[in-house]
């Protein structure tokens, strides 16, 4: 999908262990905390229903602590009986993580805490322990893959032209908390330097796949790697290796520079929060062309002509082809910018 201003619905997945979260109807801004919770250590099972002499389905009547609550050591989780009372007691300071189907309590120490921030200005339209969904209005541009945690910050240009690579020397601490727009390529050196300088996120036409492995590990794939860890955030808009941004994509980024923005890595999407008339969007978006050796992606420019017959390429594969100023290109290797990939 190319640039569009409209209403978007963004789902923010929550890790397990939610303590608090925004509720449906709440108004939030990008960057606001919409969910927080804990990471717990090894759980300890506290005998519940059977110990208390009640059926698991009747445990609610004798339970004194809700699941999810933080408790001190010795806190009474549930209690039954009057004269000869029996109680389920927390064996440690921590959190009541879960109640099993058998009616036992699982209590675990808290070892870390997490927060999830909204990447959208708008209203919470769904909220449960698994996700908070925010609906709002923004400019949006979809990429093909995103890596790292969600990012929020002011959009800033890091290059002067869409075909430029983002040079590490252009990145310094003045770009802290910004989302920096690279051009055709952001190398691993630039990614790590940006992270060290506190840059919130990076957007570019492409990043070298080998560099992604250096930064994110060998498990990284072309599908992206959304995560919650403290890692650089990167949004690839077009491909891998080097991919000059079409002017029709780059110029609106110039127009929108200075506006608040966010990167939602699960959907590989950039949001920019500003007025609908803040950017001039060309009526037509260019097509993209995959290089014949798969080494890169470039915008299709100049006059083209569909060839009447299949063309035999150096690989000896035959295909319908489009004649471009750079020669014949297999038709399947030409796609609209917003084609599903």
């Amino acid at each position: 999908m190319s640039w569009r201003h409209g209403r978007w619905q963004v789902e923010h997945a929550l890790p397990v262990g939610v303590s608090e979260r925004a509720h449906a109807g709440d108004r939030v801004r990008a960057g606001d905390i919409i969910g927080s919770g804990t990471v717990v250590g090894s759980v300890v099972a506290v005998p519940g229903a059977r110990h208390l002499g009640v059926h698991a389905t009747d445990l609610d009547a004798v339970t004194r602590i809700r699941v999810g609550a933080e408790v001190d050591k010795g806190a009474v989780l549930a209690r039954s009986g009057r004269r000869f009372a029996r109680a389920a007691v927390a064996p440690l300071e921590g959190r009541v993580v879960h109640r099993t189907a058998e009616g036992d309590f699982l209590v675990a120490p808290v070892v870390d805490r997490w927060t999830v921030r909204s990447t959208m200005d708008g209203e919470v339209v769904r909220s449960d322990d698994a996700a908070v969904v925010v609906r709002g209005t923004a400019w949006s541009l979809a990429g093909i893959a995103a890596y790292g945690p969600d990012a929020i910050g002011e959009l800033a240009l890091g290059v002067d032209a869409p075909g430029d690579a983002l040079a590490p020397s252009r990145i310094d601490v003045r770009l802290r908390d910004r989302i920096v727009v690279g051009g055709s390529r952001i190398a691993a050196e630039a990614i790590t330097r940006a992270h060290a300088c506190g840059v919130s996120g990076l957007v570019a036409g492409a990043a070298p796949a080998g560099g992604l492995r250096v930064v994110y590990g060998d498990d990284v794939t072309a599908a992206g790697l959304p995560s919650r860890e403290d890692r650089p955030t990167l949004l690839c808009l077009v491909g891998f290796g080097a991919a000059a941004l079409p002017r029709e994509i780059f110029l609106p980024l110039v127009d929108l520079a200075g506006s608040r923005a966010s990167i939602h890595t699960a959907t590989a999407r950039l949001f920019v929060f500003t007025e609908p008339d803040a950017a001039r969007i060309p009526a037509a978006m260019p097509a993209l062309v995959l290089a014949g050796d798969f080494g890169g992606v470039r915008p299709l420019e100049g006059e083209t002509e569909l060839l009447p017959e299949d063309v035999r390429f150096p690989s000896e594969l035959e295909s319908a082809a489009l004649m471009t100023r750079d020669g014949a290109v297999p038709l399947p290797n030409v796609l609209p910018f917003d084609a599903p990939r």
Binding site: V16, P208, D219, T221, F240, A291, F294, V329, P332, N333
Partner: protein, 499 residues
């Protein structure tokens, strides 16, 4: 019952395009006719006829007790139903409750496959509690299939009560395995009644080829995001491994993530720098149905096919199905992107390198998805009428393209190979030998040491392969690249390699 000839076309889906054949689908006599079109799949237009496709990707969380036989059986059912295991929890994996729950929440599975066995569901209760904690609130909720005896299923029923769940018999038994595969395929098919899953089509194809040939047949399929190995014997027994999402297109990056870049790179007959190769893999993975213009890109696809098949064999081995089962078929049919390589020799080379036939095997390949379409017709008829192959009897022989005969010579000393019939050859072959004999028609082959058999030599003749199994590639580029280039050159598999 559908009326005869209800379906007049059959579409075979690729990554973003379809190939359409005219077809006559009739319980008495079915066939494909002309290839009508190749074009982009139109999501808005319902398919007018049969449709062969991969279906909805099924991402599965495997929850299993600590019993190797149960686990093998469960993995086998998942591999046979082309489901992808995205997270696996074992009752003895040592992970804490929180770690298990986090793994399940982060993975967001479509389905949880619980292997409860038949005697001790207690050990899997904790896993199911983690599933309940992690996924009860997830939208959409994962469905659950419990494989085990009635007592185990009952034990888990209360824990899993918040999920939509089904119970199938223990996957170690044939009925349990079949039931699990049926249910998993039903999930992938969704509500599209005209959809024939690609793996079903390939299984029907293998059976049809085996019956037409009168001997066991293997189908090797590499598509953009799946790799399949099917062995069928004329009696109807089928063993299948459908590995998703590894393939030579959309699944290219997954092949590299799993196998490692060096294992893919080793099959390329020229020096290639690793970072550049990785970029090509990533771009290919995000460009559906891309055409390799450059020979290097084509060799990358060939290399990916090698590794994808190797991993399908390895996964089949991990479920207890010995790779020799697939290697022992006297007839091998190549389909998918593997059959669409520009030179027939390239397809044969992948079969020789990656499958490593253990018997004298005649190798064929598909033509423009004709065989997959036939398999799709057979699978559709089986779904609707229960009998599958009578309607397409003999048709596979019409639509397949003959490549040649592969003669494996596994000996540590020189072995004598005699070929009679369509060629005359009687010489000693040294270990490491790899060459093609010009031949045509039926040939009889005898290899000293006991291996003998018949085959049909095609345009690529008879391929004598004395490199040994498993095929060992030199670790150093300086030795490996010339060796792989020699193998390509032996079959004239690449224009630049031949030069």
């Amino acid at each position: 019952m559908i009326a005869p000839e209800t379906f007049s076309t059959i579409d075979v889906a690729h990554e973003a395009r379809i190939r359409r054949w005219s077809a006559t689908v009739n319980p008495a006599r079915s066939d494909i006719g002309q290839r009508i079109a190749v074009g982009p799949a139109d999501e808005s237009e319902p398919p007018p006829g049969l449709h062969v496709a991969g279906g909805v990707p099924l991402r599965v969380a495997l929850l299993t007790i600590n019993d190797a036989r149960v686990e093998h059986a469960g993995r086998g059912a998942l591999l046979a139903s082309a489901a992808e295991i995205i997270v696996e929890l074992r009752s003895d994996d040592g992970r804490s409750f929180g770690e298990r729950a986090s793994a399940l929440r982060d993975a967001r599975p479509d389905l949880a496959f619980v292997l409860a066995g038949d005697h001790n569901a207690d050990s899997v209760v904790e896993l199911c509690e983690a599933l309940r904690y992690a996924c009860s609130d997830v939208h959409p909720q994962p469905r659950v299939i419990v494989s085990g005896d009635a007592k185990s299923a009952q034990r888990l029923d209360r824990v899993l009560s918040s999920f939509s769940r089904e119970i199938v018999p223990d996957a170690r038994h044939e009925d349990g395995r079949a039931a699990a595969v049926d249910r998993l395929r039903a999930f992938r098919r969704g509500t599209n009644v005209a959809l024939v899953l690609r793996d079903e089509a390939l299984e029907s194809l293998a059976l049809a080829v085996a019956r037409d040939a009168g001997v066991a047949a293997a189908v090797v399929d590499v598509s953009g995001s799946s790799t399949s190995l099917v062995h069928a014997d004329p009696g109807g027994a089928i063993v299948a491994a459908h590995l998703v999402p590894l393939g030579s297109g959309r699944g290219a990056d997954r092949v590299v993530a799993r196998a490692g870049l060096d294992r893919v790179r080793r099959w390329i007959p020229r020096p290639v720098d690793a970072p550049g190769l990785l970029e090509r893999v990533f771009n290919r993975a995000r460009w559906p149905d891309a055409i390799a213009v450059d020979p290097l890109a084509l060799t990358l696809e060939i290399a990916l096919a090698h590794e994808a098949i190797a991993h399908a064999l390895a996964d089949a081995g991990a479920t207890g199905t010995l790779p020799e089962r697939f290697r022992s078929a006297p007839v091998v049919v190549l389909t998918g992107r593997l059959a669409e390589l520009p030179r027939a020799a390239q397809s044969l080379l992948v079969a020789a390198n990656a499958l490593r036939p253990a018997v004298i095997a005649t190798v064929f390949r598909d033509r423009d998805d004709a065989l997959v379409s036939l398999g799709g017709i057979a699978a559709a008829l089986k779904m609707r009428y229960g009998h599958d192959l009578e309607a397409i009897a003999g048709r596979t022989e019409t639509h397949r393209a003959l490549l040649g005969v592969v003669v494996p010579v596994n000996a540590s000393r020189p072995a004598t190979v005699r070929v009679t019939g369509g060629a005359t050859f009687a010489e000693q072959v040294a270990p490491g030998g790899f060459f093609a004999l010009a031949a045509s028609g039926a040939v009889q082959v005898i290899v000293s040491g006991g291996l003998r058999g018949r085959g049909i030599a095609g345009p690529l003749g008879v391929l004598i392969d004395a490199r040994g199994t498993p095929l060992v590639l030199p670790p150093r580029d300086a030795e490996r690249v010339p060796a792989v280039a020699r193998w390509f050159a032996a079959l004239d598999a690449l224009a630049d390699a031949a030069a």
